[in-house]
Symmetry: C2
Subunit: 574 residues, 2 copies
């Protein structure tokens, strides 16, 4: 199409409300339009990109025997009551009533709808395994949308659900889907996406992976082992600490520690390294505000996801009241008698000669020996893995922490939904079982924005060929020159005839305006038709990523462009 | 794909809750699954059909220079307040609040969102005309969903919005879009869809057309002239009546008419034909319950849409109270002095010697002469056009009334939205104007169901090739026969290699089960591989619509099938 007719404005200035580059670029380039907090309209270039991503996803889902279906956006609350999630999910599930006061929800995920769709179909073992998927609008009422299409409330997502009669079969399919995801990200131009172990969160189930595009602006923290390649979301990464106890345990003593507010200040005052301290972090359960005290080594932090999963409920940092009996800031494991759940992190195991709170305002103790002073303590993993920490896989001190954007995820769900929603099949012996499920998501808009975040320069995005809004961008510099116009027009027609996707700029604007618009559209190949080039009977073909630029005789230009398109497509699909 | 793996159940019994054939077929054939009132999930066959319809629509919209965009499903109420529709539309607009208590709506149409998207872009006349469209999920909280996908609450719709600087330009584009719609319906296999003039309803604007598939189960009534081809939705069709007054007007007389409740009873008693009566129909305005009395000829009915448009407000049939001063059942135009808006339909013009109510319980009058007794009456068209009535175009008594399903519509909107939402452009003289809009919709799921309604037999749908879920259905009858299995397997692979879309039934089931499943999937071409056919070294190719059946040598079958596919595709696209 002609750039002159392309609906949407492009401009230079970085909008002040855009924190990350991809957001700024997608606003500046006429890709997205703000409608409400976390809600955007897409202009044609963004729509073309997301449709191409959808096509890639669809091909790869079909390749692993997926069957495309469609679930509703609006669902009756009763469906979510069957699984129990109507009450267990927070306000990100948008609930409302229809004209007849029937309670409804906006779909943020479709486990319930998928079970409802196949509950009758899947009554015999002979129907298994099967996978259904959809690509569809979802709504998640995020508290803090951010980053343009990175974290929105309304989004397009591919969500897939597989059904199996054995854990082995699920695992085999899960592995297939993992490979399909790798192909999808490679084809979408981000082969650098890695998969990391993740926490299954509200989805239920056990094993799950997130596909992460590493970038400093990512929202997730990922632990990666430089040595063995282990990787996991920090929420899911096991924290391993080793304590070699001092040979002699000193006797416990109480010390007056007024006006010392942090564990660092206390250790400093007592001339102890921070890892020779036992600190307490206090939470409250959301349901009844009851207290939960986690003791862990002073140099570690609590991983709230682990704590939440252990407790099986939502929690929040505690507000300690006077009548709680808890001496805030001076809590220790010995003599603590307030009404609270007391938990111990593995980082304290075997440690001795620690300082800790004395459960009395302005006093701490020294000489805490976990073995003898807390003989009944059970240790669990509640700590965040740390940079330089021990790898849970190869056990070297080789963990690094990176940031990443989650562009996809896969879950082994088990029977959480089939059990609660009473989906059963009869096996070959006539025995009834609940099928085992897997689910598999990719955010389409987020993937588009992530590609932009990973591949851009100061001037705009550098779209990979398979998802670029167009394949080639013709700039007719000085289109008022009859020869330029004629040559560019002909090239445009020829390329379209050859099946190329062309955006054609024949506006009578300066080369500067033309090139900065082309940069913002980020089309991988650019052909410049100009009086200067035509003097040499050439056109100039260049790559948006600046990897090459070549002059090609006018009559060979179209052919060369189609070769380059094919080359770039093949490279991504190989 | 293999039919054995196709998710969804097929069965023979017509579900008792399905009023129309297409609904029953789409449930019986494993196309749709009920989720809630007016809300369905789609199984793979339906998803494949709707995706093909979407592709046809997209191609035709792109062909008339449409640019595909995407608007949100969830929109802030503020956007609809700008146009005034937040308050003017009834409860079919689903309103709710998000987690921050911000009022939101679910998109049932996107005029507001389209203006919001291009308001800044379209500030100069040089950008015009342009058209943007989307294909997307919508929600309309219908009071009475019915007929499967025919009238639902959640649906996929293509909606397009064009912007112009002159009425002529809009009309020219409107005509282009009209032609594009004709191509779409032809390509989708329903060339019999006709366009009819329609009422613009809540969309605003003046000229509009609906595209109707005529079928006895349709929800709309359409007036069609057998003579000149005029067609209009009954809501929009002008009603023309001719009255030749009797030469002598009799004097007005009051007659005692106790226990006569209908105009027919009164006329019967007075020995007058019904068209010699003046009846009154009473409504109330929704806003304040004030009365509106429409007088019209006894043989005519009120077209409430015309009345609503005339009054510019919503109305409902009146509940006449004792203190209203209205003598219910005995209302007449002479001496009527209750507090009400009084309107006269054109059907009364020039009439004389009519009977009418005497505005006194149990009394009517005879000898009403409109000219002399109601000298100040202004006549407007409030009546329904009738079967055998006068055509508004050729003026012959040639009107027939048919039923139809509305599968698309196009509207000339004017400046209703650009004015209320303050979208302006500067013309070449620097003068500011509001752009003129058109809007153009097609319901994707409804179109699929309509095609099924128009093209089915007792055994299932007969999908036209361009939108069929698959192009060819291979039935391997007696797949336990090694030769059959081998031949069918090879044909399946060959056809896939040739790019055909194949559903392959190699289950070990009876031919009866196989064929009834094939009928329910409605694939246009069927190839039967059976021991009997193979004895003659043949396969049998037949059409779902029974138009042909031929035996083809095994080795020529694949080629012949691809020829037939091409033939059927070309026929639809020609």
């Amino acid at each position: 199409m002609k750039l002159e007719k392309l609906v949407g404005d492009r401009f230079k200035e970085r909008p002040s409300d855009c924190q990350i580059d991809s957001h700024a670029i997608m606003v500046r380039g006429g890709y997205i339009k703000y409608v409400a907090n976390g809600i955007f309209s897409l202009y044609t270039p963004a729509k073309r990109i997301t449709r191409k991503i959808e096509k890639i996803i669809r091909e790869e889902m079909d390749r692993i025997d997926g069957q495309e279906v469609q679930f509703p956006v609006v669902m009756p609350a009763s469906l979510w009551e069957e699984s129990g999630r109507y009450s267990s999910i927070g306000s990100e599930l948008l609930r409302f009533s229809d004209r007849n006061s029937a309670p409804m929800v906006l779909g943020m995920t479709h486990e319930e709808a998928s079970v409802q769709l196949v509950r009758e179909y899947g009554q015999s073992y002979s129907k298994y395994p099967f996978m259904i998927y959809q690509i569809q609008t979802k709504f998640r009422d995020e508290a803090r949308p951010r980053g343009g299409l990175i974290r929105v409330r309304e989004f397009t997502m591919k969500d897939a659900y597989s059904f199996h009669t054995s854990q082995e079969d699920l695992e085999e399919y899960y592995e297939k889907c993992h490979k399909a995801y790798e192909r999808i990200f490679k084809r979408a131009g981000v082969p650098e996406v890695i998969s990391v172990k993740s926490d299954s969160g509200m989805m239920g189930g056990s094993v799950s992976h997130e596909f992460m595009l590493l970038t400093p602006v990512g929202e997730d923290s990922i632990a990666i082992c430089k040595e063995c390649g282990y990787s996991a979301n920090m929420e899911a990464a096991a924290s391993i600490t080793e304590n070699t106890p001092d040979e002699v345990s000193a006797a416990m003593e109480t010390v007056h520690t007024p006006d010392l507010h942090t564990i660092e200040e206390v250790c400093d005052f007592l001339k102890l390294p921070v890892n020779k301290s036992c600190k307490a972090v206090v939470y409250q359960r959301n349901s009844d505000d009851s207290y939960v005290v986690v003791f862990l080594r002073g140099d570690m932090d609590v991983n709230e996801t682990k704590l939440r999963n252990f407790l099986g409920c939502e929690i929040h940092p505690a507000v300690i009241t006077e009548d709680s009996g808890i001496a805030a800031g001076f809590i220790g494991p010995v003599g603590f008698d307030a009404d609270a759940t007391v938990l111990f992190d593995c980082s304290l195991k075997n440690a001795n000669n620690l300082c800790c709170g004395a459960n009395k305002t302005d006093y701490h103790c020294t000489g805490l020996d976990m073995k003898s002073d807390c003989p009944n303590a059970e240790y669990h993993d509640f700590a965040k893995i740390t940079e330089g920490g021990i790898c849970p896989s190869c056990h070297k001190h080789s963990v690094t922490i990176s940031r990443g954007i989650e562009v996809g995820n896969i879950f082994q769900l088990g029977t959480k939904y089939t059990k609660s929603m009473n989906m059963t099949y009869l096996d070959s012996n006539g025995q009834s079982h609940n099928p085992i499920m897997g689910c598999y998501g990719i955010g389409v808009g987020r993937l588009a924005a992530s590609v932009c975040e990973a591949h851009h320069d100061d001037y705009g995005p550098i779209w990979p060929m398979p998802i670029a809004p167009w394949q080639v961008h013709i700039c007719a510099v000085r289109s008022d020159d009859a020869e330029v116009k004629q040559c560019a027009d002909k090239l445009y027609d020829t390329l379209i005839g050859l099946g190329a996707e062309v955006i054609y700029d024949d506006r009578q604007v300066s080369a500067g305006v033309m090139f900065s618009d082309a940069d913002l559209l980020g089309v991988p190949l650019r052909v410049i038709v100009s009086p200067r080039n035509l003097k040499e009977s050439c056109c100039e073909i260049s790559a948006r990523d600046k990897s090459f630029s070549e002059k090609v005789p006018v009559e060979e230009t179209a052919k060369r462009v189609t070769e380059l398109i094919k080359e770039l497509m093949d490279k991504a699909n190989s």
